[in-house]
Symmetry: C2
Subunit: 331 residues, 2 copies
C-alpha cells in the first residue's frame, strides 16, 4: 500500500488520484474527499502545504495536512511508502520529521533520474540542500548507486562527481575533498565529470550539491524542450520541410515521450528511513502512475535496507557520537 498525497499538484487532486488508479498498485489517497468522488481508499485531508510556505514550519503547524498524514501512514506501518506531486520542501520536511533520517546520514538528497536515451542517469542532490560538504557528497554517491542497483537493475553503478574539469584537483575545495575520499572507496567511481557528461549516457549516477544539481537538472530539461520546439518550428516553416515533418511526426512523437520526465519517473528522497517520491508539480496521470510503481518497486526491492548496508560497508556513515544535524529547510 502506497500513501498518495493528492494536494499541491498543478493539475489538481483528481489528476493525481487518476495516476494512482492507473498504477495498478494499491494506494491510499490523502486529499480533499469532496473533489475525489469516484475514487476508492480516500482519506479526507483537504489541507495542503503551498510551495511558498516555510516547509519545516508548515509541517509542524499543519499536522492534519495531507503530506504529513501520508508520511505518518508510512511511519505507522499503514503504508510502505509515500508519493506526492506537491512541494518538495514539504515532502522532505515531513519525511525528516516522521520517517527520520537513516542513522549516520548527514543529509537526505533529492535524486532525479534523467531520461538520457539508452542510459538514464540519476542526478543528486537536486535541491534538498543548497550548501555542500565533502561528506554529504560522498554519502550521496553511495545512496545514488544503491538506488540505481536496487530499483533500476543496474549491475554496478558507475558514478561521477560533477565539477569544472576532469582532473581531480579541479573544482571547489569540497569537491576536491569528496573526489579524494570516493577514489579510495569501493564504488565504480569515474572521478570528476563535467556538465556535458550529464546527457552523454556513460554514467548511472552524477553527484553534486543541491544548488548546482537543481540548476543543471532544469537547464537540461529546458534545453531539451527548447531544441525539440525549435526543430518543430523550423520544419513547419517551409513547404517541403512541412511535408517532411508529416513523415517524421510519429517518430518524433515517440522521442518526445522518451525524453519526457513523466516516462522515467520522479524525484526520490534518499537518506530517509522510508520510501518517498516527489513527481514534477505538473505531472500527468502517467507521471504519477510511474512514481507510484517506482515507490512500490523500491519497497519490494528493500531499497532502504540496501542503501543502509551500502553506506555502512563504504565507511561513509557519520560516527554515532557525531552531533545530530538539524532538519534542513529544503528548497
Amino acid at each position: 500500500m502506497i500513501a498518495l498525497d493528492a494536494n499541491g499538484a498543478d493539475r489538481g487532486p483528481r489528476n493525481v488520484a487518476e495516476g494512482g488508479r492507473r498504477s495498478g498498485v494499491p494506494v491510499t489517497i490523502f486529499g480533499p474527499a469532496a473533489e475525489l468522488e469516484g475514487f476508492d481508499n480516500v482519506v479526507d485531508a483537504p489541507v495542503g502545504i503551498a510551495n511558498d510556505e516555510d516547509p519545516a514550519l508548515a509541517v509542524r503547524a499543519k499536522p492534519d495536512s495531507s503530506i504529513v498524514q501520508a508520511a505518518r501512514a508510512v511511519k505507522d506501518g499503514k503504508a510502505s511508502g509515500f508519493v506526492t506531486s506537491g512541494s518538495t520542501g514539504a515532502a522532505l520536511a515531513a519525511g525528516l520529521f516522521h520517517l527520520k533520517r537513516m542513522r549516520g546520514v548527514h543529509r537526505p538528497a533529492v535524486a532525479v533520474r534523467l531520461p538520457v536515451p539508452g542510459r538514464p542517469v540519476l542526478i543528486l542532490d537536486c535541491g534538498a540542500n543548497v550548501d555542500q560538504r565533502p561528506e554529504w557528497l560522498v554519502q550521496f554517491a553511495y545512496m545514488g548507486a544503491a538506488y540505481m542497483e536496487a530499483v533500476h537493475g543496474v549491475g554496478r553503478a558507475r558514478v561521477g562527481l560533477l565539477s569544472v574539469g576532469e582532473e581531480a584537483k579541479k573544482g571547489t575545495e569540497e569537491v576536491v575533498d569528496a573526489n579524494r575520499i570516493l577514489s579510495d572507496g569501493p564504488l565504480d567511481f569515474a572521478g570528476n565529470v563535467e556538465g556535458n557528461d550529464i546527457a552523454r549516457g556513460e554514467l548511472d549516477v552524477i553527484v553534486t550539491d543541491g544548488f548546482t544539481g537543481n540548476v543543471a537538472l532544469k537547464a537540461v530539461e529546458g534545453t531539451a524542450t527548447m531544441v525539440m520546439r525549435t526543430v518543430s518550428d523550423t520544419v513547419r516553416s517551409g513547404t517541403i520541410s512541412s511535408l517532411g515533418g508529416l513523415l517524421i511526426r510519429k517518430k518524433v512523437q515517440r522521442l518526445r515521450t522518451e525524453l519526457n520526465q513523466d516516462s522515467v519517473g520522479a524525484g526520490i528522497l534518499l537518506g530517509l528511513r522510508g520510501v518517498a517520491f516527489v513527481t514534477h508539480g505538473d505531472a500527468t496521470p502517467v507521471g504519477v502512475a510511474t512514481a507510484v510503481r517506482l515507490a512500490h518497486r523500491a519497497v519490494e526491492e528493500r531499497v532502504v535496507e540496501r542503501t543502509e548496508r551500502a553506506l555502512a560497508e563504504s565507511g561513509a556513515l557519520a560516527s554515532v557520537s557525531a552531533p545530530a544535524v538539524s532538519v534542513g529547510s529544503g528548497s
Copy 2:
C-alpha cells in the same frame, strides 16, 4: 590590430591562423612560425601553455609563451585586444598579469553568449572563479549588461540571477545577498531565475558563480547536441521517416548552425583593462573568425571604458582602500 594566439587549439595553429585571415580584421599571429607558412604577420612563438599546467605559475615561468606575448602586445599598445583558442586559465592569468584587473573589480569573469534562438543570452561566470561572493555576483551583473549593450546592440539588458527558485529568499546566502543588492540598483533586474530560464529566450544576461555557470553552460551544450543527434537517429531509423528526414535536411542543417557555438562567438574575459576572448578549444576557422570580429567590435565600441563607467555609476566597485585581491588561478 588583434593579437591572435595560435597555440593550444585542438585543431592546430593553422586552423587558428585561417580563422584570423577569414575574419577580415588585421591580426598579428603568435605561434610556431614553422607551422604557419603562408600567413602574414606571424611572430614566432612556439611555446604554449597546456591545459593541465597551473596557469598562474606557467604564465610567470614562460614569458615567451604565445599567450603571454599576445597579452603583452595589448599592454604595449601594439594590439588592441587578444584572442586565443588555448587554455582559458592561461588566458585569464596572462590577462591579469599584463592587462590587469579594472580598478575596483574584485574578480574577472568568463562570459559566454549561448545561442538561444531569437535571443542569445550571456552567462557569466563560466569558470574564472569556483567560489562565490555576493559582491562578485553583483559586479558580474553590471559587467555582463555593459558588454551586451556595447557589443551586441541590446538596448537595455535584462539580467537574471541564477538560483533554485524565483523567490528572493531562495538559494545560497551569497545569492540571497546579491539579489538584495541588485534589486536596489539601476539594472533591469529580473530577480532570481532558474535553470530552465537559460534556454527560454527572455533574458540577455544570466549571472552565477563560476562553478555553477561552467556546469550549466556545458549541460546546455551537451543536451542540445544529444537531442539533435537523437532526432537524427530517430528519423533515420524508419523508411517513411527517412524520406521525411531528407525533406527537412536543409532546415535542420541551418538550425544546427544557429545552435552552434561557433556562430555566436566565444568566451569573453570581462573585468580586465583590455579586450580578451577565448574560443572553444575545438573552434573551427569560423569560430575563430567570429571571435576576432567580436574582439574588434569590442575595441571599436569601447567596451572596457563603458563597463568601467557602468560599474562606477552602479556603486558596485570595491572601495579604493580595500585590499587588493590576489590573482585567481582560473579553472
